[in-house]
Amino acid sequence: MNRLKIISGHLSPAGSTDHERDLWGSTCGSGPAGSSGPEDVVVVHGLRTATGRAKRGSFKDTTPDELLSAVMTAVLKDIGLSPNQLGDVCVGNVLQPGAGALMARVSQFLSGFPETVPVYTVNRQCSSGLQALFNIAGAIRSGSIDLGLACGVESMSLRAMGNPGDLSSRLVDIDKARDCIIPMGITSENVAERFGVSREKQDAFALGSHQKAARAQSAGRFREEIVPVTVTMVDDRGEDRAVTVEEDEGVRPGTTLEGLAKLRPVFKPDGSTTAGNSSQVSDGAAALLIGRRAAVKALGLPVLGVLRASAVVGVPPDVMGIGPAVAIPAALEQAGLSVADVDVFEINEAFSSQAVYCVEKLGIPPEKVNPNGGAIALGHPLGCTGARQVVTLLHELRRRGRRAYGVVSMCIGTGMGAAAVFEHPGP
């Protein structure tokens, strides 16, 4: 064994002369990613609502518990699983008081879940929907549960990023603390300036997002992942109207570069960040059923995706948009993969500036990034987004019909980044 250790030590990266290397057994032709075990955390199924335009769109008068309830019910109904089987439910949310802990419990009862199923919420800002998945995965890995729902929901119509809470007055004396309350748009300007992302590049990226989303929409690619929801909205005359929402409302097929170029910068007089190259303010929910592979198999349920890596990193708050550029390499390293191994990257388009920076910094071929559009066209309902990205990613990988890896990543306000690597097993 020692001779094997010495020789396998040759395979370590240059610069390391440490001979104490961990050897692990793995199935032929693969490392941690690609091998299949009963303890794997797998995604069984995932669905989302359409994203509505906040304040003006169809969900403007809909409380988040209704949106959440719709997706939770739909996911379980689709696969014929009773909610009794759920060990826990975690919901990502940012704007509701207490990150929506009460709202989530109400929501599960709207779905008719028994009181024996617990629920809680998590707030890691824009990554909350993905963090919910990490949390459920963690509970599965630590053996507390076998199956859980990871969800995300946000109504940006009913709540805004207004009240920062109770903060110490010392905040102004400490740079990094003060940077946490910089408006997100200013962080976008900071990234654009510091890393040289031009207005033209940002607008081009935004155009791409709308074009890809429009193509996906008209090709009906979102139909299998969107749960139609019937809600009440108060129309212009003040009257209640029932409406069934099944299409993302933010997509603008008619977007042009000229049109985008005409928009004025929103956050800084001579800046480059406009309403056109920023993510939209939206309402929406998404839910994913996650389980331990052995338990999923025992119930005869399918495997849509396998969680291969999860990473959360910290970055300077004043350029929070670079988060994915740090989180994605961390997650890939964990999975033992490189950019070339990954087929699809769902990188949240908080702002074109940061999305372009991250894609270029990591050398990701643009055709791999958000093939069905991103938050600029589809919207960014804060707590929902992470879960929404996983839903869209896995459905896309399944459509491609072969074994493939995908990455979900986003920047996080106050200076963090999160990323996850998923494997779709193929048919």
């Binding site: 001779r3 010495i6 020789i7 030590g9 040759h10 240059a14 610069g15 390391s16 002369t17 001979h19």
Partner: protein
């Protein structure tokens, strides 16, 4: 192309006989040297192919072989059990002598090349270098200094009592037997150094006698000028 296949044995080292032009010796191991036995093969090249003259089995893998510079029948081999064995092609059955002093695999053996000496040097994964008399009676010196497994020990073809070693600690070292000390330690590579050799030609430059080359797992080959330990050329792919 003439080929000799040794079934179930994977070759680790080959050396041509200084006396018989067509002859070479090959140290080989079972299971890629990771476990199992070893064989020492003596081969002759003919016009058309390579044939086996004689061979011996050893209970552990064999990693290096060196011919004697003074006796055409004698060779020394280094094994995975830490032993050096002296073999005689005129005496077929058993080794002339087995010396077990190294505590780990002997990865390199070399016979001195300079006129005044007749010595064997061995390099081991136990991080020591040992110098032996040609009868392998006992080691004359044990030299320490390397901080990693030693992959290669080579006598200088010009400078008596001088040899170089290459190690997993990333350094090339040049040793002086008389002082029983390391004269030069060169951090030549950023990864393990697997092999080194001296330039035996003293014709093409005033520096040739002092040139040492090494290659490493960091994908580079390095040529160093011994006297100043300075790298003057580096090739990588």
């Amino acid at each position: 192309m003439k080929v000799f296949r040794s079934p179930a044995r994977h070759g680790y080292a080959v050396e041509a006989s200084p006396f018989v032009p067509s002859r070479s010796a090959c140290a080989a191991s079972q299971f890629y040297g990771l476990t199992g036995c070893g064989s020492l093969l003596v081969l002759d090249q003919t016009e058309t192919d390579v044939c086996l003259v004689t061979s011996w089995e050893w209970s552990d893998g064999l990693f290096d072989v060196a011919w004697s510079e003074t006796n055409e029948h004698v060779l020394v081999a280094g094994g995975g059990d830490g032993s050096l064995q002296l073999w005689d092609t005129a005496n077929h059955s058993a080794p002339l002598r087995v010396a077990k002093e190294h505590t780990q695999e002997v990865y390199s053996v070399d016979w001195s090349q300079t006129r005044g000496e007749n010595l064997i040097v061995s390099g081991s994964w136990d991080q020591t270098v040992k110098v032996w008399d040609p009868a392998l009676s006992r080691s004359l010196a044990t030299l320490r200094g390397h901080e990693g497994v030693i992959y290669s020990t080579i006598w200088s073809p010009h400078i008596p009592g001088c040899f170089a070693s290459a190690s997993g600690d990333g350094t090339l070292r040049v040793w002086d037997l008389k002082a029983a000390a390391c004269r030069l330690a060169i951090p030549a590579h950023s990864a393990e150094i697997l092999s080194c050799d001296w330039c035996k030609y003293d014709q093409f430059s005033p520096f040739s006698r002092s040139v040492l080359a090494s290659c490493s797992y960091d994908f580079t080959v390095s040529s160093l000028h011994r006297l100043v330990g300075r790298r003057f050329s580096r090739a990588s792919d």
